[in-house]
Structures are given as structure tokens and as C-alpha cells.
Symmetry: D2
Subunit: 257 residues, 4 copies
């Protein structure tokens, strides 16, 4: 797409899963990619392979293996972006406590667990958005997208912190959609179906969960990261300028039943 | 799009408003257009001009000035479609009673008013869908889309029948999304913002309504038929194959507040 | 309750399940009971036993073994009610098609199946309400309540007609709540959890469904008809005058997950 | 109610508005009242009058003019409660930032503003709940209730922090309803309509807001604190044991349109 030439996407949590798949899809359509991630040394060779693939699509790639939740990371990275250079800010940070709300004092979900999850999975999106807005880094008709999940409305034992954080994410989305529209920024969430990503596999019992999700899906398969990346791409197209303030489910219908 | 060559879109209620705008957008991307409409003679010259514009995009156009709510219309039209020929069925029929639920017996909304509105605005979508499914007219990765409105969940005096019909539409969407997925049909609704169409202008007080909707919209303008047509197009693209069973708001954020 | 003395409850579908349990609870609080039901001869001895129990609570009971969906039934029954005599109209009619949306033409859910289910399970409520309103039979601070289910938003194969009908029910509730408030009628729905009633047991696979619902319920038991009847009673109390236009879930939390 | 004899209600934010009205209603039904509040000296004489009225109903009253958001307050107060002594924990703390999401760096809503609002208006509820659970202070069939508002789903400029905090409140409610049910605690939210309380009047433009809310209400009056207190009472009655995990609107239908 012509209007995307020399424009950037900033992906928070983009070294794997939904973030990385989105990076690839958007790069293949000509957008430059900036990935902020947090990975151990052992993962870097694999990640660098992915980066090379993205670069081979003919776009520029910057990566920062730094903590996206810190102000200094944000300030450091954003000073390299000129005004009117970013088409999309994509938030894909999954880092929530999996403690339960019942149990002994030492094992039960605390207020602090909640606050850390809310900050990582939701408020950090708002912080980055404000930082881009204040620096006028977004282009006209920019996009601001975050990934939510069915957990924002349905609940399971042990997912309290994630559920709460996703609720915050969607509430922030609605409010940013309203208040940032005058600056020509469209803000939305994508509710992805169950996808077998690294963060998903870290959940206890994830194999059973995946099996159930597959059975429940009317298409009888799981969501793939590429399905979700495709939706990010659609929301970036000019035909989506008027889609603002909504959560789009990209799950094949998994959440219907 | 290559895979769309020689494929058809059937639009119920496609001679103006959201339906016609969608016809134009999809024709410009190479899809043949079949419009089923119900218009008076006086509108036909204007409509024929529109048809010529669509044809000039290099696609085939069929139009039927017949009652889309009748079985014989459906049977007659569909017998001209071979198997595997239709990419999209688009329902855009707006024909609901505007009577109130309070008042004297002679003026109050009746069960029959409700049933006629439900049939026209919702069940007719299901009837056409089933007719296409039974005749195997849908292609693989087909789309089935209908237009809903905020009225499905918010209520105003005099909009009871429309509100009920839109609820039926969305419930049918969810059920068809679930039950027709195995046939590779993705079913969704688009919730359009306030758009100044002929059917909208027929509503008493519509000028005031439009003024209020504009003020309420975070982008400070009304929804245009083209905004909605763009979303129909996005949902038809292959990247939307996994979007199934959801209502996508296309209103710039109007419904947020 | 003093203000309920000599006042009536009309229960559509009150010979078993949620309707009958509500009849008993409200009778025990001093309201007269009118039950409109449709039962075979073989059930009548058991039903008559229940009627005697209700009468033994010191209230009047009328029963009509007639088709509540017919206008003549409605007219016949309502002519026996004077103005300002009915505190509550309770709709508890469960009669929906269980056909699927996919299959051969002869077995697939038809438009007519949908319309019959919508009329029985939803529009009949509106017809009775209007009949009471036109005849001024409701007292001040009357209640108008219907039973909905999770099926209004979640879907399963074979439940399309029920799902659609429950959506209509809730949309009618919202509109009646808005338009009938000036006549001091509060209209609400109660979303009951899975309850082992006669109509539930008629569903194929109901025993498995009940087992799953029990496991899913955070209290680890099914909903009982008395739980729901208790909520009907709470909504009738004067403290509930300001609850209007909402769906109250009475399921112990079953629908959360 | 007999089973309430010698049992307590703890109200966080109970010196005025919805909290105080609830205190009065519940005291009139025989429950002892503990109010945690934060007021200036100038308000105390008026508050002490209210306390006397409550005591005159024949129940015990404890009040603590301390910061309910601090752990030491919580610990101090709860050590005076024996096991199995509290029927209801009622959260009525309204303390959210009213900053906008657009504007200059110095005036715009910050992450810290969000976090403070979320803690005060939502997470503090969870902290108190856990403190009562860990100390086994709740009785069997206890209630855990918080007040939410339409702002949890609808948005207005300047209400971002409140909107987010109310989303957290409702997500916490759903999760606590699920995870604390095995301990026989029913957790719900009440969504009150626009009520002219001290915190409401502190909002800029509140007089206009109240006027609009009155017009929009189908009963053509505002919500009163007593309407909401009545609903708190209904939820405490034994007939509400099975209502768990839901948000009950108590607004006369204001939020319908």
C-alpha cells in the first residue's frame, strides 16, 4: 500500500505469537517493523532468524530486547521516531498472574498481583499511546490495536488477574476510541480465539484447553496466529478508517457457544 | 481479486443506501452483482443510472424489481444461479413498523406488526440463506452478512418492532455462524452508525436524529454508506475467513457514549 | 403483604416447572393465582393436587386448561378480571422447535418453525401484556416478568429457534420497560440457570446437559424451580419498584464460565 | 429477619449517598452497621445525626473515620469482628480521577491516575473481601456487593478513569462470584441510575447531567439513594441466595435508551 511507504508499526511483545505473526503480515504489505520484546538469550537465535525473514520482505526492522513496561524504555525507543511516522501501535503483551482467589494467604491472588497484571497487560498500552500522541508520532488515520480474549467477560478459577486486566484493556480501548478520534486515531481490540502460542503453552493444562477449544470451534480447528495477523492487517487498510471503538472477534466462532 | 472472478454477490434491498454502496464497492473489486429490490416506477430512472455505473466497472449486473420476501421471487431468481457461484449474500432490507407500544387499541403496535417486521428484516435473511445452501450456490469461503443497528440493544419509543427485528437478526447470525461453518460459510452482522439513507429519512424526526448522531460521533460526522460498504468489502477479503459469528460496529465510535 | 390482598397473578404456563413454583411462592405470600396451562388428561390429577396445595394457603385459584396462544382464550379469561386487579403477569411458556439449521430440506429448521417458536415463547407475552393494559387490569406498581435463558446469547446446534425466541423476549422486555413505565408497570426478565423441569427433560441429551451444568455451577448444584420462584417474589416486593428493563440472572453463577 | 440478629454489615464509604441509605434500610431490618468513611470535621455533626437515627432503630453502630484504602485501617477494624459475624460487605467508594485523555502532558490522565482510581474504586473491594475471607468473618450465605454504573460500558470524555475502574469492579465481581461460591458467599454488583449524591454533585456539569438523566428515565424521575438501598436489601434476603455473579440495574430503565 502506497500510503504505508516509510511508515512504521510498533509492536509491544512482538517476538512470538500474535505479535510476530502480525509483524510478518504487515511487513509483507510494506510497513517497517519495530519490535519491543523481552526474551532470554536462548531464544535470540530463533528470533533473529525471524527478523531476517521480515527484512527479506524489503522493509526496515528495529528490535529492542528491553522491558516495554518501563518509562525509560519507552522514552529511549520513541526518541528515534520522527513525527508522523507510525501507522500502528500494536499491544501484544501477555503477562498475568495465574493465582486463585481462594486458598491460603500465601498462595492467594493479591492486590499487587492484580496491579502488576493490569499494568503489564493494559495500562502499558495507554502509556505508550499517550507517549506517541504527546510526541505527535502517529500519522493521520493511525491505528491503535490491542489483543483481548474471551476472558474479559467469561471467568475461570485462576484467571482472575487476566480477566480483570482484559476488562481494563477493553475499557481503555473504548475511552481512547472516544477521546483520540479527534486526532484521527482509530482504536480497537481484537478478541482472538484460542491460539497455541508460547504464552498459551505456559498455562497449566493448556493441552486440554486447546483440545476443548478445537471441539468447541464450529470450524473444528484452533485459531492460528496468522488468522489474527490477517485481522490486524484488515484493520490497517484504509477501508477500516471508520471502525473505531469496537472489539472484533477473530475466533472462527469459538466463543459463540 | 482473482478468486472472485465470475463470482456473484446477491444483495437483498440493494437499490439504495448501504446495499447500493456495497454493490458499487464490490463491483469495483470485480464481483458480479445481483440486486433484488422493490421500487416504484418513479425511482427506476435514477436506479438504472446507478446500474450503468456498476456495469461500467466491467462486471455483470442482474436486477430484479420483485418482492424479496416471497418464496416465488426467491425460487425464480435462484434458479438462474449455478452451484458454486455466490461469494456473498448481503441482507439490507429495512422495513419495520414504527408504531408505539402505548396508545389506543387502533394505533398501538400489534403482534402482526411485530411479525411482519421480524419476517422482512430478519427471517427473510434466513430463508434466502437456506435456499442458497440447499441449492449449493455458495462457494467455499462464502460470506453471509446482514446490517444491524444500535437499536438491537438500545430502545426508543416507537422503535419496538425494529428493535425486536434486529435482535432476531443478530440471533440468527450467531446460530447460522455456528451451524453453517462446516459448509465454509462465514456469517456476521455489521452494525452501521447513523447513515442518511432514504429509509432513514422516512423516519419522523430524522433530521434531528442525524444532528444528534453527528454531535455524539467522536469524529464529528455521520456514517456514510461508503464507510459501511468498505467494511463489507473487508469482510469479503480472504484475510477475513476466520471472522465468524460477530457483530462489527462501523460507526466511528458513535455508539460508545 | 397487605397491598397484595385480593390481587391476582396470571401465570402463562403455570402447571409445572418455574411457573408452578412461582405460583406456590406467591400464593404463600397472599396473592391469588390464575394459571393458564395446556396439559393432557393424564397430567390433570397431579396438577389438581398442586392446585389444592395452593388453595390451602388461603388464596383463590383459577385454572384454565386452554391454549394461551389464542386470542379467544385471552379474551375469555381476561373478561373475568376487573380493572386494577392484577399485580403480576408471568410468562413461562416454553415451546420451541429443536430442529437444526443444517441438513436436508425436509428436516431443516424452517421460517415457519421460527415464527411459531417466536410467537409462543415471546410475542404471546406482548399480546397478553397489551390485552391487560388495554383493559386496565394491571394495578399501580404492577410487574411484568418473563423467563429467559443463556440461550439468548449463547448458541448450540439445534437451539436456533429457542435462541431467536429468547432474543425476541428480551428485546420485547426492554421496549415494554421503556414504553409501559408511564403506566407504572415494571418489566423484567429472569435468566434461570439449568433447571430440571418437564420441558427441560424433553430435550434430547438433557441428562448429560444437567450433569455438565452442575459441574459448571460454582455452587456445584443445579438451579431449582424454587430458586427462580424466589426471585420472582423479590421482584414483586415493593422494594423492587425501581428495577425495570433488566435481565436478572438466577443461576448461582452457572453462566459465568 | 431472625437469621440477621447480631449480624453485621460493613459499609465502605457509608457516610452519605448510596452507602448511608443502605445502612438505614438494613438497620431497619435488624442488621448491625459498621461504617468506614473519610470525612472532614465539618461534615461530622451531620453524620453523627444520621448515626443516631440508625441507632434509634435498635441496632449497634460502629463508625471509623479512617482511610479504607489502607491495610492498617482494614486490619485494625477487622480485628474487632469475630468469626461468622458479617452478613454483608458493601463497597461504596467513589473516588476517581476526572482528567481527560487528550490535552497537554501536564493535564492529561496519567497511568498513576488510572491506578489510583482502580485501587480506590475496585481493588480495595477485593482487598477487604480477602481480608474477611482469610479471617472467616463472613457468615454462611453472606453477601458481597459493590456499586457500579453505566460508565462501565458507556464512555464520556473525562470519565476514562471511572470507566476503567468500574470495569475492574465488574470483572472482580464475576471472578469472586465464581471462586468464593464454595464458601457460600454470593457476589454481585448493583448498577445504580443517576442519583444526586454528594459525589455526583462534585462532578462538573452535574446539574445538566441530572436534568438529562431525568428526561431519559422512562419514569421521568431520577434514581434516589433509597431505591438502591432497597435493592441491596432484596439481595440480602434469603430468597436471593441463588443470585450470584450478576449486575442488577436499579435505574428505573434509565440506561435502556
Amino acid at each position: 500500500m502506497k500510503e504505508w511507504k516509510d511508515k512504521w508499526v510498533i509492536i509491544l511483545g512482538g517476538s512470538s505469537g500474535l505479535g510476530l505473526a502480525s509483524a510478518k503480515k504487515l511487513a509483507s504489505e510494506g510497513l517497517n517493523i519495530c519490535i519491543v520484546h523481552r526474551d532470554r538469550k536462548s531464544y535470540l537465535p530463533a528470533f533473529n532468524e525471524e527478523v531476517k525473514k521480515i527484512e527479506s520482505l524489503g522493509v526496515k526492522v528495529k528490535t529492542f530486547n528491553q522491558d516495554a513496561l518501563k518509562e525509560e524504555t519507552r522514552n529511549g525507543i520513541l526518541q528515534s521516531f520522527p513525527k508522523n511516522s507510525v501507522k500502528l501501535l500494536l499491544h501484544s503483551i501477555a503477562k498475568g498472574s495465574l493465582k486463585k482467589m481462594s486458598g491460603t494467604l500465601s498462595e492467594v491472588l493479591t492486590a499487587q498481583d492484580l496491579e502488576i497484571s493490569i499494568h503489564a497487560m493494559a495500562i502499558s498500552w495507554y502509556e505508550w499511546t499517550q507517549a506517541l500522541v504527546q510526541r505527535e508520532i502517529f500519522i493521520k488515520n493511525a491505528r491503535n490495536i490491542a489483543f483481548t480474549s474471551e476472558g474479559s467477560t467469561r471467568v475461570w478459577p485462576g484467571y482472575g488477574a487476566v480477566s480483570v486486566a482484559k476488562s481494563v484493556l477493553e475499557a481503555l480501548m473504548r475511552n481512547m476510541a472516544l477521546e483520540l478520534a479527534p486526532q484521527q486515531i482509530a482504536t480497537n481490540c481484537i478478541q482472538a480465539g484460542t491460539t497455541v502460542t508460547a504464552s498459551f503453552m505456559a498455562i497449566p493444562g493448556s493441552i486440554d484447553l486447546a483440545e476443548m477449544a478445537k471441539k468447541r470451534n464450529p470450524f473444528n480447528r484452533l485459531t492460528e496466529a496468522e488468522d489474527v495477523a490477517n485481522a490486524v492487517y484488515l484493520l490497517c487498510r484504509p477501508e477500516a478508517n471508520w471502525i473505531n471503538g469496537t472489539t472484533i472477534k477473530v475466533d472462527g466462532g469459538e466463543s459463540l457457544s
